[in-house]
């Protein structure tokens, strides 16, 4: 990613830094040089940077996986997909037998009923696994759970439960499916088990192992951790100080629990500045503030401009939700901006993006500041005009390229319709308008995997195999830049990582084949050997 030296055959490393990039002969006269040939037949890239993910991404692997697709867990164990209700039950029966405590709740995750043949999985099926132990199966969508009769009994769920989302059969008896969080929260033991796992210190490790397995050397936990709360910083420090911890983490400061008043935001900004100035270490970085402005497009909660949604569910109010009153945004952005922080704002819809861009514009007019790198996160419907303005203001973008594969078909037919869907996650438009951008997985919303995300941006193939908006495809080199140097730029780390240059950290992604050589459709199938972080190799799939 160093334009003056795009390719090389050897790299010299001293300590955790790169001391030279060139050919083997260039370094042989370096004093006390040791030649390391272990990656002789592999491809070294600047370490991949996942600039938008969440630490709980790997935590669900603490529980058995019952999803449709085959997946590997952070330790490298391959879990075969459950192709029908029977194989889901078989896996659960096996887990039930392995559990020592007969009263302990069995939690599983990843169920995706649309893919399963035959009857929908309900409580009576789960009762075949156990009628004594509560069972809670969390769906892949994160919006639903299916529980057994014992879980309903213990949670007081019956035909009289008035909570919306408790699905009932024709005779009015709950069938075990709990839709949306209010209903899921009735089965509080199941949901709490998942939440506790997500915030545990093991989760920080599974997140890092998962990142390592897909070649990521730096990941941003974008506003998941409550840094202002006691113990959270220490937990991150403990993990990242361990020499075996395989990634660098940028922990964004979430704008949480704030009432939006200027004094309150200034107080929060002060905390965030303190972290950046006094608490950074080799593998733990700060300086980013995360704000969430709207919802999601597939959930019909993103704020999108006229004509809004194509085919929303019955009772939908017409447009999405604000998570912050738009009129508070100028004050919020301005306070963090004046404190010298970089604001990353979640804007799935274009209406949300406009409110954020306007707030940055206003902040810059009263307090001009060079190189602020304020970033629109997700950018799914960001328009050409908006990219023009972002370029003018010096803003960055982080585009949710994975959506094209995972929800592209639904966007074309249900959420926004083909014409708009073809322009969604428009990397080529961002490139044309000169906006520096990254691309991301938002793990656990979609699985982490930079090669898959690159494949999405380059091919724009949907799950059904259609090319959605061919004009928005970008080249392999641009996609690699987006996952390395330009991702590092928006995380304020481009002076240290993102390219292979003398003086930068020795962070590499080690691949079995060259992304510049393979067919574009094959990008996602490139094997990842692992990574090197600060000169230390970490092999994918190892413990």
């Amino acid at each position: 990613m160093d334009p003056t030296q795009p390719f090389a055959t050897a790299i010299a490393v001293q300590g955790d830094r790169i001391v030279g990039v060139g050919d083997r002969e260039d370094f042989l006269d370096f004093p006390q040089t040791e030649v390391d040939e272990r990656f002789g037949n592999k491809i070294l890239l600047p370490g991949f940077v996942e600039a938008h993910s969440h630490v709980m991404s790997g935590a669900l692997w603490e529980f058995p996986y019952v999803g449709f697709y085959e997946r590997s867990d952070p330790t490298g164990r391959v879990w075969s997909g459950c192709q029908d209700v029977d194989s889901v039950l078989q896996r659960l029966i096996q887990c039930d037998q392995e559990m020592v405590d007969p009263d302990q709740t069995l939690v599983a995750w990843g169920l995706d009923p649309i893919f399963l043949q035959g009857e929908r999985l309900v409580a009576k099926h789960l009762d075949q696994v156990s009628t004594k132990r509560p069972i809670f199966v969390f769906h892949a969508s994160g919006h639903l759970a299916t529980v057994n009769s014992e879980m309903m009994r213990q949670s007081g769920i019956d035909q009289h439960t008035p909570t919306p989302g408790v699905a009932k059969d024709d005779s009015g008896v709950p069938n075990g499916e709990l839709q949306e969080p209010a209903a899921m929260s009735l089965a509080s033991d199941g949901l709490a088990t998942i939440f506790i796992a997500m915030m545990s210190s093991e989760a920080k490790w599974s997140y890092a192992l998962e990142a390592r397995n897909c070649g990521v050397t730096t990941a941003a936990d974008l506003g998941t951790t409550r840094l202002a709360m006691e113990g959270q910083l220490e937990a991150w420090r403990q993990a990242t100080d361990d020499p075996q911890y395989p990634i660098r983490v940028v922990v964004a400061f979430g704008n949480f629990g704030s009432d939006g008043t200027p004094a309150n935001i200034r107080d929060m900004a002060e905390k965030a500045v303190h972290l950046r100035e006094h608490e950074e270490s080799a593998k733990l970085r700060f300086g980013i503030v995360k704000i969430v402005l709207d919802g999601s497009i597939q959930g019909f909660t993103a704020r999108i401009s006229h004509p809004h949604y194509l085919d929303p569910p019955p009772g939908h109010p017409g447009n999405g939700l604000w998570l912050i009153p738009p009129e508070q945004m100028p004050d919020i952005v301005s306070a963090y901006h004046q404190a010298g922080l970089t604001v990353h704002c979640h804007c799935n819809g274009d209406e949300a993006a406009q409110v954020f861009i306007d707030a940055v514009d206003a902040a810059l007019q009263t307090h001009p500041r060079e190189d602020h790198r304020h970033t629109v996160q997700h950018c799914q419907l960001t328009t050409e005009q908006q990219y023009k303005k972002m370029s003018e203001l010096g803003m960055n973008a982080n585009i949710f390229a994975n959506h094209i594969f995972y929800w592209g078909d639904q966007h074309a037919t249900i959420t926004v319709g083909s014409p708009r869907a073809e322009k969604m996650d428009g990397c080529a438009t961002a490139e044309r308008e000169g906006v520096k951008f990254s691309i991301h997985s938002d793990a656990p919303i979609t699985p982490m995997g930079q090669l898959h995300t690159i494949w999405c941006a380059v091919n724009r193939l949907t799950a059904s195999g259609n090319i959605l908006g061919p004009e928005e495809r970008i080249g392999v080199h641009k996609a690699l830049q987006a996952c390395t140097i330009d991702a590092a730029h928006q995380l304020l780390m481009d002076n240290e990582i993102g390219s292979l240059e003398n003086g930068k950290l020795a962070d590499f992604t080690v691949l079995e084949s060259d992304p510049y050589e393979v067919e574009p459709e094959e990008l996602k199938n490139i094997q990842v050997w692992g990574t090197v972080v600060g000169g230390v190799p970490f092999q994918a799939g190892s413990q």
Binding site: H54, M56, S141, G142, H143, S155, G156, H160, T161, P162, T163, P164, E180, P181, A182, A183, M184, S185, L186, S188, D189, L191, A192, F195, I196, M198, M199, G223, T224, R226, M229, E230, G231, G254, N255, F256, G257, S258, D259, G260, V292, S296, G299, R303, P317, G318, L321, W322, L323, I324, P325, P326, E327, Q328, H346, N348, V355, D442, P444, I445
Partner: protein
């Protein structure tokens, strides 16, 4: 109630308390919604200062729940947000922790008031009011009578404000002292929520009986009128046929906009049912907590002074 300034956050307690195991009767939940600046916090303060019972207040800012530390001492926080997948997951998580905190309070609160954020849909928050051990009392939405018309027409927030008001059982048309007239606003409100109980007020001051509904035990036997409103109650033992109940409700004087109670319906006498009337909307649904429900029937109706006839429940008396 302990006092200190500002808000604090939730405990990260791992145990999940089941309110149903702790309380003798369901804890009533009132959700307060309304757009930024309408007067929600003023309303919460009013409720806290006027209430004769212990109220726990949950504050739901930015899609998550904080707990008012006037009522809760615990300090750490460990809630999470799954923002892109779902904005209400944090609510689900925070909620169980908040309830855990509420249950640990001494004296134990008997009523929960949830102040939704200025952009939240109060209906989504209200969905949490049906957990075992709880009974949803009402969704109250505060509206700024000076700025409401303008807010409704705003291209960015108009729909947010409209959805909030549409979800209301009670609308507090607030700041009427600053509005030249309220007729235009009332007409506008009528277009998308003609059923809610509409109360005009200043500084969010609403009669607590009107918002919460009186407790049968607190209504004086002689049914004397106190303040602007009067409450009358009915107590009986025999299950009431559903038709008789419906008839009673339909015959209530128009001015009676609030009634509540727990009744046994003749068709299913073993199930205690919660009865609620707010504005022109009423519902009858099973009480989640059956173990501890009071015996027989207890109903209270509330109306402006002089509007509730002494024999308002005569159709029920015949049955008893």
């Amino acid at each position: 109630m302990g006092h200190s300034s500002g808000r604090r956050s939730l405990s990260s307690g791992i145990t999940v308390t089941k309110l149903v195991d702790l309380y003798d009767s369901p804890m009533e939940v009132t959700v307060i919604g309304g757009y930024l600046g309408a007067g929600k916090t003023t309303l919460v303060n009013h409720l806290l200062s006027q209430a004769t019972e212990v109220i726990a207040v949950l504050i739901n800012d930015f899609g998550e729940i904080n707990i008012d530390d006037k009522l809760v001492d615990s300090a750490d926080e460990n809630t999470i947000t799954l923002t892109n997948g779902c904005i209400c997951c944090s609510l689900a998580d925070g909620y169980s922790k908040a309830l855990d905190d509420v249950a640990k309070r001494n004296p134990r609160p008997t009523r929960l008031v949830i102040e939704a954020s200025g952009v939240a849909d109060p209906a989504a928050v209200a969905a949490y009011g049906h957990a075992p051990g709880m009974a949803l009392n009402a969704v109250a939405v505060v509206a700024d009578s000076v700025n409401l018309i303008q807010q409704l027409a705003d291209p960015l927030v108009g729909q947010t404000v409209r959805s909030q008001l549409a979800a209301a059982d009670v609308i507090l048309l607030n700041k009427t002292d600053l509005a030249p007239e309220t007729e235009t606003v009332r007409t506008e409100l009528d277009r998308f929520n003609s059923d809610a109980l509409l109360v005009e007020c200043v500084h969010s001051r609403i009669d607590l009986d009107l918002l919460f509904g009186s407790e049968v035990s607190k209504v004086p036997k002689a049914s004397e009128a106190v303040g602007e409103y009067e409450s009358r109650c009915h107590r009986s033992n025999q299950p009431i046929p559903r038709d008789a109940l419906v008839e009673l409700i339909e015959r209530l004087p128009e001015q009676v906009q609030r009634a509540k109670g727990i009744v046994r319906v003749a068709e299913e006498p073993q199930i205690p049912m919660v009865f609620q009337l707010v504005g022109r909307r009423w519902e009858l649904r099973a009480l989640a907590d059956r173990k501890n429900a009071p015996e027989g029937n207890q109903l209270v109706v509330i109306g402006p002074k002089g509007t509730v006839p002494l024999d308002w429940d005569r159709t029920l008396k015949v049955e008893d």
